[in-house]
Amino acid sequence: METVNLTSNSLSPEMQSNSDRVEKQSPAEKRAACLQQLLEISKTDGVAALSELQAHAAALASELAIPSTRDEDWRFTDLSKIVAAQFVAADGKASVSTDAIAGFVLPEARSSRIVFVDGVYNPELSDLSAADNVTVGNSDALATVSKHVAQLPGSEEVFTTLNTATFADVAVVHVAKKAIAETPLHLLFVSTGSNRISQPRCMVVAEASSQVSLIEDYVSLGSAQGGDGSGFSNAVTEIVVEANAQVEHSLIQREAMGSFHIGKTSVIQAQDSRYTNIAVQIGAALSRHNVETHHQGTQVETNLYGLALVAGEQLADTHSNIQYNHPHCQSDQLYKAIATDKGRSVFSGRVGVPKLAQQTSAAQLNRNLLLSNKARVDTKPQLEIIADDVKCSHGATVSQLEDDQVFYLQSRGIDRDSAQHLLIEAFAAEILLKLPVASLRETLTATVTQRTESAI
């Protein structure tokens, strides 16, 4: 019996939560205290038009705590590093030069770019001269869309509540009825580091039959620009996709390797609409992406794609949730992760199909590439189905590179290292090629190659 520890902890993570000793008080208190502290530090004047909403959220947040791994939604992602860390307020006044963000500017969206520094709009760094057929701005542009803020499902979740209670500004994208925004919009959120906590917030409304492509991009200032690699971004984006509208949403999280990032994408879709999310998580020591879409009409299409890359001691966690409510809807999900070094990747995907949602189809696939024996992958694809006339499938795979494939390439004269690089890039490319702009595809592919170097 020496070789295996047969305690409940090692055998049954899903069965431990309540079967252990009744929880000791002090860690729970710590987690509650931490959240209150974050709430206190993050406190801003807020957005005047939303003051009532923000006050309400603050009241709610004062009852909450940082979740523990006993919470089903956080089972594999331990937030004790956040509890232990000391954060300071982001005053939004950190000075950032145009040069400092030059490396993050996308040529394809050079003049359709809005920049927020630590969650606050920076007009000097933004250039919206080429943003066509769309209203883009900060909280001053909220006007007609303010009624949607914090109204989407899931807004009561703890980090979302913290954000709602404390955001200082809001990035607003409003596409009018039938408007087609030809140029991709680049929403660049810059973290300045130095243990600052920021609460980026984004509100997108695509009215009926409109079309838009967004690139939501989280970056940290490099050391040459005064960044020290630390910080905590707690971001929330809400998207309302009205009837027959099409929203393509790329989400890039490439913050500094010492930082924390918790992000939420909440979407509601009306009939005949299509929403596509392409999420790439390669930054932060600990990152979490929650994406949820709720169908509010028939013939809705949802596509969720994602790539997570974890190296060093990074942990990247993706939780997707598609809630069907109507017949004839369809969704496709493909989430991929590459884990190397001591990296940890977590995926949990839920598809809920209630009785009303007949004749729907849902496909979900999670593929993981494990490149080191210290790396770890946890995956939990879930189906919850009540309707009987549906076509649902899900799958998950975890493996290293296929020896046969490497050998095949070698037998064609390609050396082993190059063969491995090629296969890793190909694994990532399936997601990266879905990104709408070439410059991002290239940058991110190069990052994948460079970060997986140690595994080859």
């Binding site: 995956t379 694809p381 975890v398």
Partner: protein
């Protein structure tokens, strides 16, 4: 037409009778005295009392789990009788001395125990409420060195084996229900297969709950020494009461080098009526330890009964090249709720596991697959393949799939697939257009859906299982 498919799956429970027999019961409730009393009644050695007390004290510190997709009223653990036995429960040397009412009961259940009528190729341990009343072929098996007896007898006759292995796979504090079982278990089966022996016949235990207020807590321990082989089957039924009975069993399997254990279950506890009144609460912990190299443990279950099922037979694959298998068919109807699946924990190198789970949900029932596949850091070359299919009948039933996959070794390969399908109007019409009646069409589709699992059952029982499902599906066409 779907309404008529629905009527097909409604079939009266035919094992719902009660045997009128005088029993000895201890008063309701649980405390340390009750645990001591059970141990004393069974004349157990000191180590068993210690085992029970340790478990009881652990249980007191634990909380009932609530993570499963199950909903049931709170269980009052003080409102349960923890020990009940037919009067004059002393184990008889000869079957002639067993109360005829009991023999009749088992005969009615299709399991005659008497010399003349018993199955010739299957040894049976018959457990009635809390005690084992008879074990057939015991002496014949012993000639091969195979020990097959009740666990109470094993405690007395093979204390060193029991002490060595009891709780070694499922520790007393593993979970709430296993702790409760360890504290109060009353009987169960014990199997020991010595080195190099291939057990000459199928072993089987038949569990019968008879009283309305008694919990059933049985404990099974199977030890297969190096190069041995055994196939074991358990069956379960209970009368129809409008109250719920708690059943919290623990099964531990130990497979040493090159040993092969096949464990099959046909579970048909009373499921409650169409409104969800009555039925068994079935909370079971089953785990096999593939301790030796090249060992193999295979679980096959056909779960059709119980109001609540909470059960995750698993394998801990410690020995290099060891193999774990889980084949399951779970049928839920009316208000039944099942949260069942498996845990495959890969520890050793080149360990392999296969999971095939088929869930059929009808009525307003809920059927969840919950499984864990864990590949440890040293499990180089480990492989897992999981397939979880659900079939829905009618649009009020729920089918959920909750797989948990945890991989810490890059040399491992894990694949999980799941799908849902249905018995739909169009498939039925297609078969009927070829002259096949609706009952036959439904039965063909269900058998086809479950084929991969039924193929794993010992032959005698594969037919039984198919019949059991057919019975559940028999009825008038609306």
């Amino acid at each position: 037409m779907s309404a008529s498919v629905q009527t097909l799956v409604n079939q009266p429970y035919k094992y719902g009778f009660v045997t009128d027999i005088e029993t000895v019961k201890i008063p309701k409730g649980l405390n340390e005295e009750v645990v001591r009393l059970i141990s004393a009644k069974k004349e157990e050695p000191e180590f068993m009392l210690d085992f029970r007390l340790k478990a009881y004290r652990k249980w007191l510190t634990m909380a009932e789990p609530d993570w499963a997709a199950l909903g049931y009223p709170e269980i009052d653990y003080q409102d349960i009788v923890y020990y009940s036995a037919p009067k004059a429960q002393e184990k008889k040397q000869s079957l002639d001395e067993v109360d005829p009412a009991l023999l009749e009961t088992f005969e009615k259940l299709g399991l005659p125990l008497s010399e003349q009528k018993r199955l010739t190729n299957v040894a049976v341990d018959a457990v009635f409420d809390s005690v084992s009343i008879a074990t057939t072929f015991r002496a014949d098996l012993l000639k091969h060195g195979v020990v097959f007896c009740s666990i109470s007898e094993a405690v007395k006759e093979y204390p060193e084996l029991v002490q060595k292995y009891l709780g070694s796979v499922v520790p007393v504090g593993d979970n709430y229900f296993s702790a409760l079982n360890a504290a109060v278990f009353s009987d169960g089966s014990f199997v020991y297969i010595p080195k190099g022996v291939k057990c000459p016949m199928e072993l089987s235990t038949y569990f019968r709950i008879n009283s309305a207020d008694t919990g059933q807590f049985e404990r099974t321990l199977i030890i297969a020494e190096d190069d041995s082989q055994v196939s074991y089957l358990e069956g379960c039924t209970a009368p129809m009461f409008d109250t719920n009975q708690l059943h919290a069993a623990v099964v531990e399997l130990v497979a040493l080098e090159n040993a092969d254990i096949k464990y099959s279950t046909v579970q048909n506890w009373y499921a409650g009526d169409e409104n969800g009144v009555g039925g068994i609460y079935n909370f079971v912990t089953k785990r096999g330890l593939c301790k030796g190299k090249n060992s193999k443990i295979s679980w096959t279950q056909v779960e059709t009964g119980s109001a609540i099922t909470w059960k995750y037979p698993g394998c801990v694959l410690v020995g290099d090249n060891s193999v774990g298998e889980f084949y399951s068919v779970a049928l839920t109807n009316n208000c039944q709720e099942a949260d069942t699946g498996t845990k495959m924990v890969h520890v050793g190198k080149n360990t392999r596991s296969t999971i095939i789970s088929k869930g059929i949900s009808a009525g307003r029932s809920s059927n969840s697959y919950r499984g864990l596949v864990k590949i440890g850091p040293n499990a180089e070359g480990a492989r897992n393949y999981s397939q979880c299919d659900s079939m829905l009948i009618g649009d009020n039933a729920a089918a959920n799939t909750f797989p948990y996959i945890q991989v810490q070794n890059p040399g491992a390969k894990v694949e999980h697939e799941a799908s849902t399908s249905k018995i739909g109007e169009d498939q039925l019409f297609y078969l009927m257009q070829r002259g096949i009646s609706m009952e036959d069409a439904v039965s063909m589709m269900i058998s086809g859906f479950c084929k991969d699992v039924f193929n794993q059952l010992p032959m005698e029982f594969a037919v039984e299982a198919d019949k059991l499902l057919s019975l559940k599906l028999e009825g008038a066409v609306g």
